[in-house]
């Protein structure tokens, strides 16, 4: 396993993947006094060459370290980035390699890589439940973080209609209208808290018999009522 320089790695990918290799970007930066190089490579590929690219990466080093799959909602498409770390174990040779794919919103499918890297199971399950990307052939497609009773079709990381807007519950006393959530959070957030504060229901009020009329509790409420000037942040 010999160590290739970032340029050689990009060349080898370009040669192997041919047309489905879209573009690449190499980031290098000197670090501290001895000016060693911090290197990161971003490679954009099409979905059909995705598994082939992962094969190539595992050829660079036998068990490549897949740190995480990050996904972001770009409106009409979802960008998945597989963050790999290769050449670990060799002094100052390690570089982080980001394999970027963009999937159209209407066809969110990606083949699984758990056969190549068994450790990818958690992050694939998380991407599946959070972004709604269907991982084809995933061995265990249970939810990772979301509770079982979490409704289908709602994906927390989405910024479009399947996003979590209606489920947001802001802490009592520091609330803003949850219905105008999208509008209130786009313009500078300070102003949104000045209007009259609508107190959403919360657990304690659902069953008043539990929260007995402890004098300490009511004092806490009075305290919060007075301190309702525009949201003072930490």
């Amino acid at each position: 396993m010999e160590i290739l320089s970032p340029e050689e790695i990009v060349e080898s990918f370009k040669a192997a993947l041919g047309s489905s290799f879209i573009d690449s970007k190499i980031y290098q930066r000197e670090v501290a006094v001895k000016k060693n190089l911090f290197q990161a490579i971003w490679i954009y590929v099409k979905r059909d060459a995705f598994r082939q690219a992962v094969d190539l990466i595992s050829k660079l080093q036998e068990y490549p370290h897949l740190s995480i799959i990050s996904s972001s909602d770009l409106g009409d498409s979802v960008e998945l980035i597989y963050h790999f770390a290769i050449y670990y174990g060799h002094h100052l040779k390690g570089l982080s390699l980001g394999l970027c794919l963009s999937l159209p919103k209407n066809d969110l499918k990606i083949p699984t890589i758990t056969d190549l890297i068994p450790g990818a199971i958690f992050t694939e399950r998380e991407t599946q439940e959070m972004m709604g990307v269907e991982v084809v052939g995933i061995p265990d497609d249970r939810r990772l973080f979301l509770p079982e009773d979490f409704p289908e079709g709602v994906y927390p990381w989405r910024k479009d209609e399947t996003g979590p807007e209606d489920m947001l519950k802001v802490l009592p006393g520091h609330s803003c209208h949850s219905d105008s959530f999208a509008s209130c959070h786009s313009e500078p957030f300070a102003s949104c808290h000045s209007e009259g504060e609508k107190r959403p229901k919360n657990l304690a009020q659902d069953n008043p018999e539990l929260v007995s009329g402890e004098e300490s509790h009511t004092a806490q409420d009075r305290l919060r009522e007075e301190s309702q000037e525009p949201g003072e942040k930490k």
Partner: protein, 417 residues
């Protein structure tokens, strides 16, 4: 200890509120008598939606203090990785002195985190006197952290483009005095942990993770290194001042000559890393370059550059438990981050828990689970939304617990007659 006459397996719900697990996580163990057959890890109890806050409420500078509270124990590695990611995305390079100060604080935190872990591990196997003694030793480093950064736990020391406070020359003697104290006490720590018969009995060949599995399941940090996987971000990638100090990943064969990958090896790796951190801090103090500590002292100017910046950045740092990675995407004209992805080391180490625990005994669960030094509050920061009104759905957790209690009682009645 098989029940000869009847094949009874029942699930012991360990967590989410359980004294062995300092944090809420739920391990469902399928047990046959005392032997564990299958383990299922259920997370999501500590979720606080940090990423959603980062993407919707805070500007990048406020996020530093949010990143710091991802985890109370390792609360330097998260801001460290986050700041490197933002610097890469916005194209900012911190001054050299700041890089050295960051490494000094990160290594101080590693010492306190490993000593904390050693105490908790001793407590898990019922060795409370070691827990008290190790935590008394740990108070010294907490005083040093407070002396240098101003607060024991949440330090608020880092800033995008450098460090908020300097470590001045007058503070160096005090730091060296505490480090000397640790050098003298290190021998005692080693004998207490490595040569004590009962600890050896409870940790040798317990919770073994073979190198093959560790590589496959991407175990990182001391858990991976104890199984022979030499992944250490400080050694592999040039970040902070680590590049100048040529760090070498610690594996247990330095002392025992072999790599077994059991709880005993994880103790060895963590103790040696404490010694390594002491040496790193001392070298940093000797080679600390002069110069500014902040590239852009005026906050408003920094915020403006961040607002106009456009790009992606990945920050990887070596936390006491393993590799932490933050991915940040900045969009021009947007006040908050476009995308923020945090991943803590325990996220990866949890995948090897089922393979480690299978075949062990219930009595081993706390010590084996503690041996990967889990930090649930890190692992659960992802975005989770729960329907707020659906009363009936919340009942499923009660029903689940009720089911397992009824099953146990039914089985235990069967056992008693």
């Amino acid at each position: 200890m098989k029940n000869k006459e009847m094949e009874t397996t029942y699930t012991i719900p360990v967590g989410p509120i359980h004294p062995a697990l300092k944090e809420p996580i739920r391990l469902d163990l399928k047990v046959d008598g005392e032997e564990i057959i299958d383990v299922d890890v259920a997370m999501g109890q500590v979720h606080r939606g940090i990423e959603w806050l980062g993407m919707n409420r805070n500007n990048p500078i406020q996020n530093i203090y949010l990143a710091e509270r991802v985890c109370g124990i390792c609360n330097i590695c998260h801001p460290f990785a986050y700041i490197m990611a933002v610097e890469q995305a916005a194209g900012i390079t911190p001054p050299e002195r700041a890089e050295y100060i960051r490494v000094v604080i990160a290594e101080m935190e590693r010492i306190h985190s490993h000593l904390l872990w050693a105490g908790v591990a001793a407590h898990e196997i019922g060795f409370d006197s070691v827990f008290y003694l190790v935590w008394r030793v740990r108070e010294k480093i907490m005083d040093l952290i407070e002396y240098v950064t101003g607060n024991r736990v949440t330090k608020a020391m880092f800033q995008i483009g450098g460090v908020r406070r300097d470590i001045t020359e007058e503070q160096f003697p005090q730091i060296r005095k505490t480090l000397d104290y640790y050098k003298t006490i290190f021998k005692q720590l080693k004998t207490v942990f490595l040569d004590d018969r009962t600890i050896r009995m409870r940790t040798k060949n317990v919770g073994v993770l073979k190198t093959e599995d560790a590589l496959k399941l991407l175990a990182c940090g001391p858990t991976g290194r104890a199984s022979g996987v030499t992944k250490d971000v400080r050694q592999d990638q040039a970040y902070g001042a680590y590049a100048d100090l040529d760090i070498k990943a610690i594996t247990p064969d330095i002392i025992t000559g072999t790599i077994v990958g059991d709880v005993y090896d994880r103790i060895i790796v963590r103790l040696l890393e404490v010694k390594q951190s002491i040496e790193i801090i001392e070298r940093c103090l000797d080679e600390m370059p002069p110069g500014a500590t902040l590239i852009e002292p005026k906050m408003a100017k920094l915020l403006k550059t961040l607002k106009t910046a456009e790009g992606k950045g990945v920050g990887r740092a070596e936390a006491p438990r393993g590799e932490v990675i933050h991915y940040v995407r900045l969009e021009a004209g947007r006040e908050t981050l476009a995308t923020w992805k945090i991943r803590a080391p325990t996220y990866l180490n949890l995948m090897s828990i089922p393979t480690i625990l299978k075949g062990g005994q219930i009595a081993d669960v706390p010590i084996v689970f503690a041996s990967i030094d889990p930090c649930m509050s890190c692992t659960n920061r992802a975005v989770v939304i729960d329907r707020k009104t659906n009363k009936k759905s919340i009942m499923t957790y009660e029903k689940l617990h009720q089911l397992s209690v009824e099953k146990t009682r039914r089985l235990s009645n069967g056992l008693v007659e």
